[in-house]
Symmetry: C2
Subunit: 132 residues, 2 copies
C-alpha cells in the first residue's frame, strides 16, 4: 500500500521518502490536495523515528511539493509551486553534462546516449499510462 524504506541503503531513509513521494506525484499517483500520513503514523508504519519522517516532510515542503497545515496535516501542493526553479534547472543541466562524460567512458557516443534517454522517457510514459 504505502511506501517502504531500506535502512541499509546508502541513500538516507529520509531521502528515500522524499524521492518516492516526488516520483508518485510526478506519476499522478498522488494528486494536489491528497493527504499524507501524519509523521507519527508513517513512523509507526515504517518502524522508524518520527523525526526522520519530519525531516523528509520538511524537505518536501522546502521544495513546495507538499503544504503543511499545523494541526491538520500535510497535503500535496497544487502544481506549479516549485521553489528555486532556476537553480534546480541548472542542477539538471550539470547532471546532464556528467551523463555525457560518463557515457563517453562507457563507450557510448552522443547518439547512443540520446537513444537511451528516449527509451527511459518512453518507459516512463508507459508506466504513467498503465497506472491510470
Amino acid at each position: 500500500m504505502w511506501l517502504r524504506v531500506d535502512a541499509r541503503s546508502s541513500v538516507p531513509m529520509y531521502q528515500q521518502i522524499v524521492d518516492e513521494v516526488k516520483a508518485r506525484v510526478a506519476q499522478g499517483l498522488l494528486k494536489p490536495g491528497d493527504r499524507l500520513p501524519s509523521v507519527r503514523e508513517l513512523a509507526g508504519m515504517l518502524t522508524i523515528n518520527h523525526n526522520t519522517i519530519a525531516k523528509a516532510y520538511q524537505e518536501l515542503e522546502r521544495q513546495r511539493v507538499i503544504e503543511v497545515v499545523r494541526g491538520r496535516g500535510t497535503f500535496i501542493s497544487e502544481t506549479g509551486q516549485a521553489s528555486d526553479v532556476q537553480a534546480r534547472k541548472q542542477t539538471m543541466v550539470d547532471t546532464m553534462r556528467k551523463l555525457v562524460v560518463e557515457a563517453h567512458h562507457l563507450g557510448m557516443n552522443e547518439t547512443d546516449l540520446l537513444r537511451l534517454f528516449q527509451r527511459v522517457l518512453a518507459q516512463w510514459r508507459e508506466q504513467r499510462e498503465g497506472e491510470k
Copy 2:
C-alpha cells in the same frame, strides 16, 4: 594550465579531481598514454595533501580511466577499458529517471526535457570542436 580545486565546495576535492580528469578525457584533452602529474607533484601545485590526490587516482584507476605503474607514474588508459559497465549504465538510467521526476516538478513536460538535453549535447559538441 592544470586543474584547480575549490576547498570550500561541497564536492570533495578528490571528487573534483576525478570529475575533471574524466571530463578532459571525454573531451579529448587527455589521450591514452598521457601521463598525469605524480601525487606529490599535483599535491604541490594545489597545495593540498598528497593522500587526497592518491584517493582521486585510486578512484580513477578503479574505473579504469587511468593505469598506475608503481615507481613510474600514472597514465590515461586505452579507451574501452571501463569497469562495471552494466552497473554504471544502470546508474545512468536511474539518474535519467530522477531527471524526469524533477522536470515534472519544475513544470517541464517530456518535450521540454528532451529539448534541454539536446541543447546540452549540442553545447558539448561545440566545446569539443572548439578545443581541437
